[in-house]
């Protein structure tokens, strides 16, 4: 494997190693990430629905995110990960925060698409927060307008690694939270 696989930088391999060790390391690390499970809750915080369609595409036979241990779930209570699209509109800001609060720790937030990452073309609108980072703590950003499904998978592999790190530091206590928004 002479070319660097794009996943390598994300998995924080060191660049000074030679290609063959990197190739070996890559397959080990992807395998490690693959032995995981992540439940995803999608949150449309005011997107143009392009990103949402691409997320929906991940369920189709061509990408089939279930094969990677990922699945979309119906409730933030079940989710490890909030997949937020859109720049967070004024009317959805409070609901988005409530959804985040309804999620058990450790949870991560992924901003999907240009609007969610930095506001996209909506710079300066009176009705948006200009990106998810202004409302929720973002762990992973996936740029793109919209990101193609492969780019989403790339970001989700990153997230799989992140959730494992967070799980190491979690406790199992009960927490009283609001009922879902």
């Amino acid at each position: 494997m002479s070319t660097l696989h794009p996943l390598i930088p994300m998995l924080q391999s060191r660049q000074d190693e030679d290609a063959s060790t990197l190739g070996q390391k890559f397959s080990d690390q992807v395998q490690r990430v693959l032995q995981r499970s992540m439940q995803i809750r999608h949150l449309d915080a005011g997107s143009c629905n392009g990103c949402d369609w691409e997320i929906q595409s991940l369920l189709c036979p061509a990408y089939d995110m279930q094969r990677l241990g990922l699945d979309i779930v119906a409730s933030p209570r079940h989710a490890d990960c909030l997949l937020v699209t859109g720049s967070v509109t004024r009317h959805l800001e409070i609901a988005a925060i409530r959804t985040w609060e309804a999620m058990p720790a450790p949870g991560i937030v992924i901003a999907v698409g240009a609007c969610a990452c930095g506001g996209g073309v909506l710079q300066g609108s009176y009705c948006t927060a200009g990106g998810v980072k202004n409302v929720l703590p973002v762990d992973i950003s996936i740029p793109g307008c919209p990101p193609r499904p492969q780019a989403l998978l790339h970001g989700l592999m990153l997230a799989l690694d992140r959730i494992e790190q967070k799980l190491h530091h979690s406790n199992h206590e009960f927490r009283i939270g609001r009922s879902e928004a």
Partner: protein, 310 residues
Amino acid sequence: MYDLLLLLLQIGIMVGIAPLLQGLIKLCKARLQGRTGPPLLQPYRDLAKQLRRESVVSDQASWVFRYAPIVYVAGLLGAAMLVPTVSQRSPLGGFADAIVFIGLLALARFALALAALDTGSNFGGMGASREMTFAALIEPAIILVLLIAALPRQSTNFSTMAGETAFTIAGLLAMGAMAIVIIAETGRIPVDNPDTHLELTMAHEGMLLEYSGRPLGMVMWATQVRQITFIALSVALFLPWGMAPLHDPSLRQMVTGLVAFLAKIALIGVVLAVIESSVAKLRIFRAPDLLGLASVLGVLAVMATYVVSP
């Protein structure tokens, strides 16, 4: 001693294999949709992860919400211990019979429905109401099916019921009823859709929406145990081949029984996946027709028992 070993084996099978069966069904469904599908062991990973996570409890919820999963899990585990699997002997057959089995299932269901109502969430209430409606219709069918099995030996003890039903008219009718019972009790299409993301259409899933973390993991696991329990029950009653005998089985017989059992539940799992992939979900008002059919088949089976072999 033998009973204790059997019980340990039973716990291992029911609790240990339940996620695997779930994984198998999911994988089959994915393959039938042309997808690669989740790995066979994925349900274990999902459970392991949920059990490591924090649990958030709604500020609307009372103690019912917190303790219901314990009742649910205990009820279903108890029921699971009653069904003969590897041998014809029911591991807890000395303590309880088919009537207790039905009672435990009803208790578990009641606990979860109560918890779903407790949170005050709409979908929980809606799911609970649907689940209880289905339950009211399907429980008579379960009772009738067990009755058919109990009649020949005049005993409701699972140890004596297993392997008694042959291919008589009554047996076939009861088998039909049991097939519908399995579909309904495992929450599968055409009665319920376990994979739906549409909260308005949910029944069983709707009740779980508010749970998170460890209790969610427990409830999900218990639901998988419920699934394997019903499949094991149908295997014990209608496909008893290969089961180790009631008394003093040899090791060889036990191994045969284990292999046969695993093969049979895998087969039923695949059949379930095929059924689920080939039909659409019924309208919510049509589902009772199907569930009613199960009871009718059960009644016919009881009648046939007396008419054909008085």
